[in-house]
Structure formats: C-alpha cells, structure tokens
C-alpha cells in the first residue's frame, strides 16, 4: 500500500465533515463535523511529517489539537448560551444577523 492512501483518506474525511457542516442543523453535530475536518487535516499533517521524515508536521497537528480544544470549549459554551436563551440548538434559528 502506498502511504499516500492516508492522504486520500484524509481528503475523504475532510469532505465528509464539510458536507456534514452544510447539511446538519443541530449546532452540536455541526460542531462535531468541524472536529472531524480538523482531525482529517491532522491526519494529513502526520502523514506529511512522515513523508518528510521530520516532526514539524506532528507539531502542527499537536497545536491544532490544542486550538481545537480551546475552540470546542468556547464553541460549546456559546451553544449552551444560545440554547439557554432560545431553547434550540438549531443553527438555522439563529438567523437574525442578516441584511
């Protein structure tokens, strides 16, 4: 097997995640799909690191995880705050900020 397959897998997962973001209305699921996309990129990073034989890609993936953790914390708080005031977790319901 060619290790490049990891990259194909990464692309596939990323696309699925992106489609999920576009298709799902539940904010939590949308968020999960975002995480999926991040994970996909991490996989690509790790693969690239292996490709180049150094650890820089892994470091980036590591930072991505840190950022993702921070992001999840804040994002989920926002979802909760919204849910608390509007009793819904649907991203379509938060649509007041428009023209």
């Amino acid at each position: 097997m060619n290790p490049a397959n990891y990259l194909f897998l990464s692309a596939l997962l990323f696309t699925i995640g992106a489609a999920g973001v576009l298709l799902r209305r539940n904010a939590i699921v949308v968020f999960m799909c975002v995480e999926l996309m991040l994970n996909a990129t991490n996989l690509a990073f790790v693969t690239f690191a292996r490709m180049h034989g150094n650890y820089d890609g892994q470091i980036i993936a590591f930072f991505t995880m840190v950022v993702a953790a921070a992001e999840v914390v804040v994002g989920l708080s926002i979802i909760i705050a919204i849910f608390r005031s509007r009793r819904t977790a649907s991203v379509d319901d938060a649509n007041l900020m428009k023209w």
């Binding site: 973001v21 576009l22 209305r25 991203v91 938060a94 649509n95 007041l96 900020m97 428009k98 023209w99």
Partner: protein, 663 residues
C-alpha cells in the same frame, strides 16, 4: 497712399521726440509722487477715520485735492523751466512684481502729456471738490463722498502718471472702482446701484482689452514699460501692433464710453451731479483718449488700428449727438454730449500725429466747459428740488443769474462759438479730419461737421428749455404725487458758484491761449509728435463751414424751442426721436445679445451642474447603494448558507490551483 505719406512725415518729425528719453526725478520733480499720494492719503484718512472725521471730512478732502493741485502747479512751473528731453521725468518708487522676465515697477513718468492731464485733473477736480461742499451739504454721508472723490483723483492721477502699462492698469481699474462707488453713492436707490454695477462691468470689458494688450506687449517685447514698448514698436510685426492697438482701443472704448461700450454713461447719471462733472470733464472718460495718445507709437505703427479708432470715434460722435438731441433729462443730454465730444477726441487721436495734440486740446477745453455745464446743471437741480426733466424747467435765467451766465458761456464754448475755447479746439479737429486726406478724410470731415451742427442743435435746445421760455415748473406735473409742491428756484451758494465762475473763465479763454503761437501743440509735440496734414482746401473754408453748421444747428433749435411752445410732457415724436430717446436701443441690444443669452446660459449651467455633473456623482452613489441593497439579500442570516459559499469558494480555489498546475 496719403496715409503712408502722413506716417512717414510723422516718423521724420518725431525722431527723438516720442522716444521717451527721460531723466530721473530730482529737485521739485522728486515730489511727483505727492500728486497721487495726497489724495490717496485723503481717501485713506477719511475712510479709516470713520465717523470721527465727519465734521471736517469735506474740508480735509478738498484740502488734499488742492494740495495735489498745488504740487502739480509747482511741477508745471518747474517743467517750464526745463527744456527738451529734461521735461520728461521718471520717478522710480519701488519694484513691484519681479518674476523672470516680468518686471513691473511702481514708477511714475511725468512729461508734457501727463502734465496737461495732471493739471486738468487736479484743477478741475479741486473745483469740483469745492462745489461738492455746498452740493452735498445735506447728505449724511458727505465724508464718504469726499473720500471717494479723493480716491477718484488718486486713481486718475496714477493712470496718467504711471510709467508702464501695468501700473496704468492699476489706475485704470482704480478709476473704475471710484466711479462704481460714486455712481452708486446713493446705494439705497436700486437704480443707482444697478447703474454703478453696469458701469463697472462694462468697464471691465474694456479692462479685458487692456489686460490682453499687456499680454501681447509682454509676449512681443518682454516688457510693458512705456519707453521700451513704444521705443520698440516700430520693430514688431504689423499684426502684433494691430492686435495691441485694437485691444487698447477696446480698453479706451470701455473707459471713454465709446461705441460699442457706451451704454453705461447715460445710466451713470444716477450719481450725484459733481460725480458726473468729475467723470465727464476731468477723469474717467478722458482716460481712453489719454491711453491712445500715450500709445501713439503703437497706433502709428498700425494704420489698420488707426482706421478702426477713427471709425469708432466717428460713430460715437454721431451716436452721442443724435441721442443728445432727444433727451429731456438735462444730465443725460449732457452725458450724450460728452460721449459725442469724446468721440471727437478719439477720432482725432485716430488720425495720428495730425490729431493727437488737438485731441488733447479739445479734451482740456472740454474739461472746462463740460465741468462748467455739469456744475451748472447741478446748480439748477439744486434749486429745483432735484428735478432733472428739462420740460419742467423754463425761464430760469431770472432766478439763477450766475448759473445762467456760467452755463451760457459753457454752452457757447461747446457749440464752437467763435473765439471761445471750443471753437478753436473743435475747429482744429475738423481740419485734421479733412487733412487725413482721401475719401477717409472727406468722410471723417463731413461727420465732424454734421456733428458740430448737431452739437449746436442739442445744446441750444438744452439752453432754451432750461433758461428761457415759459416757467413750466409752476404747474403740477401729470400724475404728481400728493405732496408735490412748487419748487422755489434760487441761486446756489458761493461754494458752488465760485467753481462755476472759474470754469467759465476757462471755457472762454483756454482755447485762445492754447492756439496762441501754437503753444499747446508745441508743448505736446515732444511726446505725441506732430505733423501738419495737408488740407484739400484753405483753412478758412473749414472754419467757415464749421461756423455755418453751428449757425444752422442753433437756428433750427431756436425755431423749434424758442419760437414754439415747449410742451411739459414729451410729445410722441418721430421714429428717430423715439429711438434716440431710448439711446438708439443700446440697452435692448445689449440685453438681447449678451444679458439674456448669458442668463439662459447661467441657468442652464446651474441646472447642468446639479443634474449633470453632480447628478452623475449622485447617480453613481445611488447605483452603488441600490446594488448593494439588492446584493445584501444574499446575507440570509443562515450560517449554513455562508458555509456553503465558503466551501464553494474553496472548491473553486482548489480547482484553480489544479488548473494552474496542470497547465
């Protein structure tokens, strides 16, 4: 043919004469600047002093004018003591504008020609100052009036004393400003304000000519000082000289109210009468004649320009005379007369060296008698509740004897009664016109003769209607206001009659003195040059013809206005009369050709600016605003739509990258 011979005669005769080799001012002459400085200081003191100077302002103003006259007289005396080129004096004051080749100085040039003008301006000007003390006695703004009079004198003196065209331009416009202020002195009258504005703007049209003439001089010679331009004029091309000449003529037309810029003069009668006297006799309208005479070399170098000058002069002579015949307003009749007389001068100046001296001579004599006539008219109005309609005068000789006599002498002088001032000066111009030679000479001569007859006619008419005949002022006019009361004609105070008497002396004797030994011509020749034209016939024939024409004019007028009753209301009159009363439709023509198209153009442009240029700008803004208000609907508020567009964009970027890589 004749023309060329004349100009060659001129060239021969003025060798070393008109070249303006002058000496720097020293001795008495170093006080030349005081001539201008004194009235200027007077104006400044009176204007800045404000109400504090109200009490003595008129005396102060008169004092400054008289002081200026005294300095002028001293200069004249000193000049008589000099001879030849030493009579031409330059006084450099300070460098004004110096940019590259453009070198303008504030410098004065006093020579025989300027001297004549300085004496006339300060002399007659001072008399008018004195007269105004009495005339403006009851005006609350008398101080301001004297300030403006002083300003007027200063500007006019600057005009005639400048040693370059740019400084002359300053005086030129200064005169325009002073006339604006004085014509519009009674600003509360809308008609006065309008007349003042009209005068200034028509003058500005003339100023345009002067400005362009200076541009032309600068591009042709790189300078615009009198000595350099005039000295070099022979070297320049004909076309350039003709262009400069015509532009100078345009300037002269504006200031001297010559055709086609004559329309402001009649309206200028809205100003107080001393102002009219000042404008018509001593300042302002004479400036054009001065300019042409001063620029003699330029015109001598361009026969075409000279021809145009004579044509303009001839037209104006007749124009003024015809209008003068129909006016019932005493001041407007005199104004038309001025226009006609200045026409004489312009015509004479256009004749070249044959005429310059006579033009100036007529200018001086005219200064005397026209000032006298206007002051007389002012005196009449003073005694008649400011009535100006001659049809409401009549038989006033009994009530104002001094005015009658002085006015009468002025009248005799202007019609050219033998041996009075006007006789000599006008006769010389008629001679010179015939002496021009050829068809032109005959045409011009005939015009001047006809005009002489017309002058006699309308002046006699004025005289008769005012001082003789039935006392029409005793009857209430048709449609008189309820508070109309009969005027009580009375003689004016001494401060007013005294100047009139002095001027009457001038009217009577000036001409005779001037022709004695050709004193005047000899005096001016170093500046203007002089050549005797060759008359096609004897001098006495011309004199005889002129006298006959005058007699004819007087006779017709006598028949019409002394033998017949003068109606208190103007009769219908013939077509010509109606046209003349309306100044030969000059205002209608101006309105139709300039004012109305201008107004429409202005309105169109205002509309265009708002709707066109700004409309485009506003339209652009509205278009962008409208587009964005439509495009903003894309912002649905659904975060997934935004995500979709982002994702689509990413896909496009990836596609583009791939395409770039593939290619």
């Amino acid at each position: 043919m004749t023309q060329t011979s004349v100009s060659s005669v001129y060239l021969a005769s003025t060798e070393g004469g008109a070249g303006m080799h002058s000496v720097a001012a020293s001795g008495v002459f170093s006080a030349t600047w005081l001539v201008i400085g004194l009235p200027l200081l007077g104006a400044a003191v009176l204007l800045l002093g404000g109400r504090r100077t109200n009490r003595f302002g008129h005396w102060l103003g008169t004092l400054f004018a008289l002081g200026s006259f005294a300095v002028a007289a001293a200069l004249f005396a000193a000049m008589l003591g000099e001879s030849g080129a030493d009579r031409s004096i330059d006084q450099h004051l300070w460098n004004w504008v110096a940019v590259g080749d453009f070198q303008a100085e504030i410098g004065l040039h006093l020579d025989q020609l300027s001297m004549v003008f300085v004496l006339l301006i300060t002399g007659v000007g001072s008399l008018i100052h004195i007269y105004s003390i009495g005339y403006m006695e009851h005006d609350e703004n008398r101080r301001r009036f004297f300030a403006y009079l002083n300003l007027f004198l200063a500007s006019m003196l600057l005009l005639v004393l400048a040693n370059n065209y740019l400084l002359l331009y300053v005086g030129w416009e200064g005169v325009g400003l002073a006339s604006y202020l004085l014509i519009g002195f009674w600003q509360h009258k809308p008609s006065a304000a309008t007349a003042a504005k009209k005068a200034f703007i028509m003058n500005r049209v003339g100023d345009f000519g002067l400005a362009v003439a200076i541009f032309l001089m600068f591009t042709a010679f790189g300078t615009f000082s009198f000595d350099e331009v005039l000295g070099g004029s022979a070297a320049a091309s004909d076309g350039t000289m003709t262009a400069i000449g015509l532009m100078l003529l345009l300037a002269a037309c504006g200031k001297s109210a010559q055709f086609p810029l004559q329309a402001w003069l009649g309206d200028a009668m809205e100003g107080p009468t001393p102002v009219s006297a000042l404008i018509h006799a001593a300042t302002m309208v004479t400036a054009g004649v001065y300019l042409i005479t001063r620029s003699a070399e330029i015109f001598n170098a361009s026969p075409d320009a000279q021809l145009v000058v004579t044509i303009v002069g001839a037209i104006t002579v007749l124009f003024g005379a015809i209008v003068g015949c129909a006016k019932d307003d005493i001041k407007k009749a005199l104004a038309a007369s001025t226009m006609s007389q200045i026409g004489y001068m312009i015509l004479a100046a256009g004749l070249g060296p044959i005429g310059y001296a006579f033009a100036i001579m007529h200018l001086v004599t005219h200064g005397f008698f026209k000032a006298g006539l206007f002051l007389g008219a002012g005196s009449v109005m003073h005694g008649m509740n400011d009535e100006v309609d001659m049809r409401r005068y009549g038989g006033l000789r009994k009530y104002m004897p001094v005015t009658f006599v002085t006015f009468g002498l002025g009248y005799l002088a202007i019609i050219g009664f033998p041996l009075l001032s006007g006789f000599f000066s006008k006769d010389k111009i008629i001679e010179a016109a015939f002496a021009k030679g050829g068809t032109t000479g005959y045409v011009l001569g005939s015009v001047t003769l006809v005009a002489a007859a017309l002058t006699a006619y309308y002046m006699t008419r004025v005289m008769l209607m005012t001082f003789f005949g039935r006392e029409r002022w005793k009857e209430a006019p048709v449609g008189a206001p309820a508070d109309w009361h009969e005027p009580h004609p009375h003689e004016s105070p001494v401060s007013m009659t005294l100047p009139m008497i002095v001027l009457a002396f001038g009217s009577v004797f000036a001409g005779g003195l001037f022709v004695l030994n050709d004193a005047f011509v000899n005096w001016l020749t170093p500046v203007t040059g002089f050549s005797h034209g060759e008359l096609p016939f004897s001098v006495w024939v011309v004199t005889g013809m002129a006298t006959a024409m005058v007699a004819l004019g007087v006779a017709v007028a006598y028949v019409q206005y002394a033998r017949r009753e003068v109606p208190a209301v103007a009769p219908q009159g013939s077509l010509v009369t109606v046209a003349a009363r309306k100044d030969l439709y000059q205002d209608s023509i101006n309105e139709g050709l300039v004012m109305r198209p201008g107004q429409y153009l202005t309105r169109l442009l205002v509309w265009l600016d708002g709707r066109g240029i700004d409309g485009f700008v506003g339209g652009l803004a509205a278009f962008i605003g409208g587009t964005s208000s439509r495009v903003r609907k894309v912002q649905t508020g659904f975060v997934r739509s935004y995500a979709l567009s982002m994702f689509g964009g990413t896909a496009v970027v990836v596609a583009a990258t791939l395409m770039a890589r593939m290619a």
